[in-house]
């Protein structure tokens, strides 16, 4: 690996990996070109295309925020490692974290991993090439008429309580802005107004059996699970993000409103988050914080909340449990060695997520077989 990749290299790397491993990959062209006309691609690692819509899926994003250069490189590295280990029939090691050859084979052949390493290529290119804008975060949406302010924060543009002025309390200090000149958290003119956002939504629609979603950012370091709207609670299902009765009340710490999460989802997120974190710690010697994404102030329009919210808002959608990882300790590692260390720990954590997804699928299959063998099932069939 030669950190950091430029945008063309990320695209070419995905293309090369798909070309080198045609039996277990598919290069996916996203439908929406960016504002600067770039075509984006994702890489599906898994079973042949014919069954891809019916297979349990893990979707991982990188490069949503332009200035965070490590996540796209980490996802290219993850694809390269998984595909090489699978083709050679070996296990895979990061530090003291070892995945067996059987685990690698099961991940590649029994579930599928969809990697979208560089969601915001215009922003990354800008951050990597314009000296005064190395800290650029947003996409490159042209400035509105009469303004010189460019860009939308993709991670405030998803349709998850996007209309923050309506949904959150005035004193919630929600991390969102409707000012196009806000350099950080401008939400855009409408929910999913941005091509980069719509590409992610398209991927979620394309794989209806997506079980897990992870948006890779940097740096805290932390593993965060839904919700970002308010403090979680597991007892009152009516107190939730799509109940308009609570509009204008959300996001204030210590008040009555708390966001509902079913207890089984809360426990699944904690259990799998712990497995991700254990792998990170084994790879690098130090784990990340594992906690709910709401702590200081709420967020609106984030990808992880959107992915998880879909099945509440639309019962025909499958449930997607979601995380955000903020990898590494520094926004920009100071040395190549530091960058590679973060990439290794991220890869270990993400493969642990895929192993958990594969094991969950196997358990469900065993339960289905056991249920089919019950006498009652035989009678009714």
């Amino acid at each position: 690996m030669t950190y950091p990749f430029n945008v063309d290299e990320i695209e070419a790397a995905l293309d090369s990996l798909a070309l080198s491993h045609p039996a277990v990959t598919e290069l996916i062209t996203l439908p929406h070109a960016t504002w600067e006309g770039r075509a984006s691609h994702a890489l599906r690692i898994g079973s042949p295309s014919a069954s891809s819509r019916d297979t349990d899926t893990v979707i991982v994003l990188g490069g949503v925020h332009a200035r965070e250069w490590v996540p796209p490189d980490a996802l290219v590295n993850l694809a390269a490692d998984l595909l090489e280990a699978h083709s050679r029939g070996t296990g895979l090691r990061y530090g003291s974290q070892y995945f067996t050859a059987q685990q690698i084979r099961s991940v590649v052949e029994e579930v599928q991993l969809v990697l979208f390493p560089c969601v915001n290529p215009d922003g990354r290119h800008h951050s990597q090439t314009v000296e005064q804008d190395t800290n650029w975060r947003k996409n490159r949406r042209p400035a509105p008429h009469g303004s010189a302010c460019v860009g939308v924060d993709i991670n405030r543009n998803f349709d998850a309580l996007w209309d923050f002025r309506r949904h959150f309390a005035d004193d919630s200090k929600v991390s969102a802005s409707d000012d196009p000149c806000d350099p950080e958290v401008y939400v855009g003119p409408a929910a999913a107004s941005e091509p980069e956002t719509r590409n992610v939504v398209w991927l979620l629609d394309r794989y209806p059996h997506t079980r897990w979603f992870l948006d890779l950012h940097s740096a805290v370091p932390g593993i965060f699970f839904t919700w970002g709207f308010d403090v979680n609670q597991t007892t009152d299902p009516t107190m939730n993000f799509h109940n308009p009765v609570f509009d204008g009340q959300r996001g204030v710490k210590g008040d009555r409103y708390r966001e509902f999460i079913p207890p089984e989802d809360f426990h699944s997120l904690q259990r799998v988050g712990t497995r991700i974190n254990d792998a990170v710690a084994a790879a690098s010697g130090t784990g990340y914080a594992l906690q709910q994404s709401y702590s200081l102030y709420p967020t609106s329009g984030c990808s992880d909340d959107f992915a998880y919210s879909r099945h509440f808002a639309r019962p025909d959608q499958g449930k997607i449990l979601s995380f955000t990882i903020e990898c590494g300790k520094l926004q920009q590692p100071e040395t190549l060695e530091e960058a590679e260390g973060v990439i290794r720990e991220v890869c270990a954590g993400l493969i642990a997520l895929c192993v958990a997804a594969q094991e969950e699928r196997s358990e469900r299959a065993r339960d289905d077989v056991a249920a089919a063998r019950k006498p009652d099932a035989m009678v009714t069939s």
């Binding site: 063309d8 290299e9 790397a13 710490k253 200081l296």
Partner: protein, 103 residues
């Protein structure tokens, strides 16, 4: 050219103290406004131009909150910008190899 942006770490054993510190402070958060738990402490990373750091240090003096400047993200970013290639390592369709050990 605008002031360089620095990444600043705030620590406290009390979330409310951190909120008091941050109320009205001219800082931005990273991806999201989170305080990570680290042992008995909460840690928040914020970003501010170099010219605002001393102002922040004195004007936002809340007992129990400590502040450390971690990195000049602008300077590190400019250093990395010089290492971004203009060519394409994979133009000849050679697949990348990863950092994991295959064994």
């Amino acid at each position: 050219m605008a002031d360089d942006i620095h990444r600043i770490e705030l620590r406290s054993s009390n979330l409310d103290d951190l909120r008091s510190y941050l109320d009205g402070a001219a800082v931005t958060f990273g991806c999201r406004p989170v305080a990570r738990q680290e042992g008995v402490e909460y840690v928040v990373n914020v970003y501010a131009p170099v010219g605002d750091i001393e102002r922040l240090r004195f004007a936002r003096n809340v007992p129990g909150v400590t502040m450390n400047v971690l990195e000049n993200t602008s300077e590190i970013g400019r250093t990395w910008q010089r290492r971004v290639r203009t060519g394409n390592l994979f133009a000849n369709r050679t697949a990348p190899t990863g950092l994991g050990i295959k064994e």
